[in-house]
């Protein structure tokens, strides 16, 4: 008798469901203590639709195949000194920020999806989270391995884990992720799988990685796109969990909407770093942040939320602010890092004439009016030997931890936006309505924040002098500051045999 055939769905069900059981020697609520306290009500975990159906053996097979290709490219890149094919060594500064700020998040995701993979009551959801957990470990490790070669030839990438736990600007991504991790499992998965991965990470991994390819970084585009092949599964999980939660119980809707609102804003703020990578750090940018925002956020998310509207979900709160900010974001963030460049482990510089013209073209409503004049002044100061830095310490937003530099783009783009909340007779400052609302909903959480500037003032960061703090960060003098004339720049010129381009850059600065 021939056996009947099992289709993919049935087979996957047999392979992943029915292995768990209702425990009798220990109460279920003790075995799964965390999946009820957020107020999300799940009536029937069996209704969970598996977002993808990869059995473990297929997983091993496909992932090994991907990694084989990836590591082959990594090896050949290192052997052939692939860094020589970059469009310009300025580019590498984006990758410094990547390993300092993004790779640690991949690792955090790895550990916390294991938390969900253990603690969700539903078997299907657990398996999906476990797969994502191990994928995220892959991403952290492939990034470390790919960037390892760059670390051997450029400064600023030498101690990313140490930096991630300490450095002022890295507390922005770190605090976002820890915010999600310290929430309940449903909040975490809404934050990372949905708000971050489904709604926003395309902005990092698609146009930026395409930009990496455009600038000759074969290694990064390979790990980036290879990671994205997993990411597509993760995004699918993000969408599935949202639908699952709102389908399970009507009481879940307002909670889920609040999670989406909060974490959209939290994750969006982190992406300010990506905006600057896209517009300023890619020497040749195939797509501006604004254009990427229009495609990957505005278009894609209105389609997504049209679809989710049937469940009663709406676009995340303050999305219109984010869209208005798209014309300002990269310029404001880059200007900030330019000013504090001596306290960063990557280089900054003023765009040259060609780049400024590109920015004018891509940002016709804002660049010439609000940013070009300031940037030209910076160039002139630099040409006069007075490269501009700010020596004081900035005030940070209590929630996103970014210096208070964002302006009120909807009303007056020249005015810094700030909000004040009072909690237990103390004042807390936030950078706008998005962060303020988050603070006011859970003030007890955000008053705990390890705010780098406060910590420096309290003497917890190696000393009171900037140089002492930078030592504590394990920054080397050659890691930060102006790109032009830096050790990276000099080495690049030696490789390329163009030692006079320092003066070229100066001439250009004069000309502008």
């Amino acid at each position: 008798m021939a056996a009947k055939r099992l289709n993919m769905r049935k087979r996957y069900e047999a392979l992943t469901r029915g292995m768990g059981w209702e425990t009798t020697h220990q109460p279920m609520d003790k075995v799964f203590p965390y999946d009820t306290y957020e107020g999300i009500k799940i009536k029937d975990w069996d209704k969970w639709e598996d977002p993808f159906r990869l059995a473990v053996d297929s997983y091993w097979k496909y992932q090994a195949e991907k990694d084989k290709k990836l590591y082959a490219i990594m090896d050949s890149f290192a052997q052939n000194n692939g860094q020589l094919n970059l469009s310009d060594a300025r580019y590498i500064n984006a990758m410094k920020l990547f390993i300092q700020g993004v790779t640690p998040l991949e690792y955090g995701a790895h550990r916390h999806y294991a938390h969900l993979g253990r603690h969700f009551r539903g078997e299907g959801a657990r398996v999906a989270c476990q797969m994502q957990s191990i994928d995220e470990l892959r991403h952290a490790q492939t990034q470390i391995h790919t960037l390892s070669h760059y670390n051997k030839h450029f400064n600023g990438m030498h101690d990313p884990w140490h930096m991630s736990d300490r450095v002022w600007y890295l507390s922005v991504p770190k605090s976002y992720f820890e915010d999600a991790m310290t929430g309940g499992p449903f909040e975490f998965i809404t934050s990372v799988s949905f708000a971050f991965e489904y709604v926003l990470t395309n902005l990092l991994f698609v146009p930026f990685m395409s930009g990496a390819a455009f600038n000759g970084d074969q290694a990064t585009v390979t790990f980036g796109f290879s990671a994205q092949s997993d990411e597509s599964r993760h995004m699918t999980l993000g969408l599935e969990i949202i639908k699952f939660m709102v389908e399970q119980h009507e009481d879940n809707l307002p909670i889920v909407q609040r999670f989406i609102d909060k974490h959209f804003w939290r994750a969006y703020r982190v992406l300010g770093l990506v905006a600057m990578m896209q517009d300023y750090m890619l020497p040749n940018s195939p797509m501006s942040w604004k254009a990427a925002w229009d495609i990957y956020f505005t278009e894609n998310c209105s389609a997504l939320f049209d679809d989710l509207g049937r469940y009663g979900l709406r676009m995340p709160k303050y999305h219109e602010v984010a869209t208005a900010e798209a014309e300002h974001l990269s310029h404001q963030v880059w200007a900030t890092f330019y000013n504090y460049g001596h306290a960063a482990a990557f280089h900054t510089w003023m765009p040259d004439v060609k780049k400024m013209d590109w920015l004018s073209e891509k940002y016709p409503n804002t660049f010439d009016e609000y940013y070009r004049p300031r940037f030209e002044t910076f160039r002139e100061m630099e040409a006069a030997g007075e490269r501009h830095y700010i020596n004081g310490l900035p005030q940070l937003c209590q929630v996103c931890q970014i210096p208070m530099v964002f302006t009120d783009v909807l009303n007056d783009p020249t005015m810094v936006s700030r909000r004040v909340s009072i909690h237990n007779n103390s004042k807390y400052h936030t950078c706008g309505d998005g962060c303020r609302d988050i603070f006011e909903f859970e003030p007890e959480k955000y008053i705990q924040a390890w705010l780098p500037v406060h910590q420096i003032y309290q003497g917890n960061c190696g000393g009171s002098e900037v140089s002492e703090v930078l030592d504590w960060y394990n920054f080397q003098p050659e890691d930060g500051g102006e790109y032009v004339g830096s050790a990276d720049h000099q080495r690049w010129q030696e490789w390329k045999g163009t030692a006079e381009s320092v003066s070229d850059d100066r001439t250009q600065a004069h000309a502008s």
Binding site: Y62, V221, S229
Partner: protein, 88 residues
């Protein structure tokens, strides 16, 4: 109806998949960008196992699409015979 998209790496393995999509989905827009290919359609986009198998000359498994996928948008349906993105 709203747009769905699938982005694949611009490499040898993805070519037959793109070709199959082009054959089976009327009106898709295929854009080549650095390192990647973005395929957009209104409402629905299907990768059929049989079409790809025909193009590569062997039994192609739908899950192989994961090997070269960069991103997607839409509701995913993954079955033995096809990989489909939809959005009403």
């Amino acid at each position: 109806m709203s747009t769905v998209f699938l982005i694949l790496q611009d490499n040898e393995d993805a070519r037959p998949i793109i070709e199959a999509i082009d054959q089976d989905n009327e009106g898709v827009v295929i854009q080549y960008q650095p390192g990647m290919v973005r395929i957009e359609a209104e409402g629905k986009l299907t990768v059929n196992r049989d079409t790809v198998s025909e193009l590569v000359g062997r039994d192609w498994d739908v899950q192989e699409v994961h090997l070269n996928m960069v991103s997607l948008s839409g509701n995913v349906e993954e079955e033995d015979e096809y990989f489909k993105l939809t959005r009403s």
